[in-house]
């Protein structure tokens, strides 16, 4: 993350944002958040949490029914054109005309951003190369794989070198290889200084990419922080030791309690302690057991995941969360 200049406005700032749809559903309900310049912000939430609605408001495709939002310093309603000049957008359903070729789409996108023919053409080639689609550039997008489409969609969002890039679930439905290719691309873009606002249902994705994560449920933020902060809130990592058969479990418990507070363990051949220092606890535990003459079979450190965070703040797991998980159950102030 490049250090934000103190004078520049936040890349995204949202205050009391609301969006009600016909029928009274409040898809976004009192959202507050701020994304600093140069940050990768992960907007994490289950299906129906309000991620897409928020993104559509931020990219000027939808108007808020209350509250305000600014992107790159401009108001998304009253200064929509300025916002559009500064953002790149890759929407959830990579909306690309299947009858056009990748190259045509990129050139068209260049024209939409005011480029002249020659400039749009060379920028298209540059981007095709960047996302590894040079060979496929002349083929109709209808024949592309899901991963290729997403890469093209990303390339289109980059045509005008936007300050802020919005990616709505960029890897949903992708195979692991395509997913990590996209992650690499997002990281390299961020290294070049692009602010990234990324929505995802995947904990791993948020952990992998985001400098900060906001967890959204029922249209508002239920927790926010760096992945490490959020996990720390849920609890410290746990160190599990599997003892060799016939080992003295009681003696092991005594030896390990000197390293960290014991944690209840179902398994008889297993001892667990809290490991505030994470993996650094491993050598300490092994030495203590060794000195007590206890044979160890394996050791592992289990860190809380964002799933645990989500469970703690919403009372439901991310995978099992249904639409409109209530924000009232939040235990962590956002």
């Amino acid at each position: 993350m490049s250090g934000p200049a103190s004078s520049s406005p936040p890349a995204v700032s949202v205050h009391g944002l609301e969006r009600a749809f016909k029928g009274g559903i409040k898809a976004v309900d009192g959202l507050d958040l701020e994304v600093r310049e140069g940050e990768v912000y992960g907007f994490l939430g289950p299906n129906g949490a309000g991620k897409t609605t928020t993104v559509r408001i931020l990219v000027t495709l939808l108007k808020p029914t209350a509250g305000e939002a600014r992107v790159a310093g401009f108001d998304v309603v009253s200064q929509a054109d300025a916002v559009r000049r500064n953002i790149g957008v890759a929407l959830q359903e990579a909306a690309i005309d299947p009858l056009m070729t990748g190259r045509e789409l990129l050139r068209m996108q260049g024209a939409l951003h005011g480029m002249k023919g020659a400039q749009a053409r060379s920028r298209a080639e540059e981007l095709l190369d960047r996302v590894g689609l040079t060979d496929a550039g002349g083929r109709r997008v209808g024949q592309y794989s899901g991963g290729m489409r997403r890469r093209l969609d990303l390339a289109m969002a980059l045509v005008h070198r936007p300050k802020v890039l919005f990616l709505d679930e960029p890897t949903t439905g992708l195979d692991p290889t395509s997913r990590s290719a996209l992650w690499r691309e997002v990281r390299s873009l961020n290294d070049d200084g692009t602010t990234v606002f990324l929505t995802t249902q995947y904990l791993e994705e948020a952990e992998q990419l985001a400098d900060r994560v906001g967890i959204i449920a029922g249209g508002s933020l239920v927790a926010e922080g760096t992945p490490a902060e959020l996990k720390a809130h849920v609890g410290e990592p746990t160190l599990h030791v599997d003892l060799a058969p016939e080992s003295d479990v009681a003696a092991a418990r005594v030896a390990l309690s000197a390293v960290g507070p014991l944690v209840d363990c179902q398994d008889d051949a297993r001892v667990a302690i809290r490991a505030a220092r994470g993996k650094a606890t491993v050598p300490l535990a092994i030495r203590a057991l060794d000195e007590a003459g206890i044979a160890v079979e394996s050791v592992e450190v289990e860190s809380p995941t964002l799933d645990d965070v989500f469970a703690a703040v919403t009372g439901s797991t991310l995978e099992g969360a249904t639409q409109g998980a209530s924000a009232d159950q939040a235990e962590v102030p956002a």
């Binding site: 000027t60 495709l61 108007k63 054109d81 559009r84 909306a95 045509e104 068209m108 024209a111």
Partner: protein
Amino acid sequence: MIAGVARESRVVTALGRRALSVQFRRAQLLMPTFVLPLMLLAVIASGTSAGRDLRDFPEVSSYLGFVVAGTLLQGALLSGLTSGMALANDIEGGFFDRLLAAPVRRSSLVFGRLAGTLGLAVLQMAWFLLVALLFGASYPGGVLGALGAAALAVITAVGIGGLAIAIAIRTGSMSLMQSIFPFVFVLLFTAPAFFPRDLLTPTLRDLSAYNPLTYVVEGARGLLQGDASLGDPWIGLAAAVGLAAFATALAVLALRDRARRT
């Protein structure tokens, strides 16, 4: 200011080019725009050339020559309508959102689509006039008359396109656009596209006076036949331009309205 106009015109050109090339890749839209009117022309010309023997039928080189103006008009209706369908398809598929998220004037999105309609209609009219010529039609009005008739039809295509685009923007529904298809023929048959106005039933004749396409098709016929008594080209031009201007304004307003509502 001038830079802004140049920029928007690049946008319109790019969108127009895209609309046109995609139209050619969509067989289900290409068939009606380029083939259907010719099929109708062939049927009418072969089966009902007896029409010429009817009393009150104007003196023209052949019935074929008379009907070609109706074919041009029919082509204009179809290219306009398919433009609306293509837009509805863009809206349903989310492609239109990409355009809306771009820093371009909203009216440029409408003009871009209409530029595609215009390009399509130019190709279409040239094709119809050529095929009719091969069928044996003659154009006593000469090359200039044929060009003028084609121009009237092209402007009309833009007008119909504007109406269709306005509906597509307001409904965003491809299936609704498709269901409009038959009604377009009402516009065609309440205009003297295939018969002179005097041969229409009294009700149709009264109705046709209110249909701007009546003046377009008569004007085009006058130009093709080189006979202003068949239709005044200037009145035709006024009707075509009036329709195009009105429809374009409607489409731009529809888009503004949509932006305000979303």
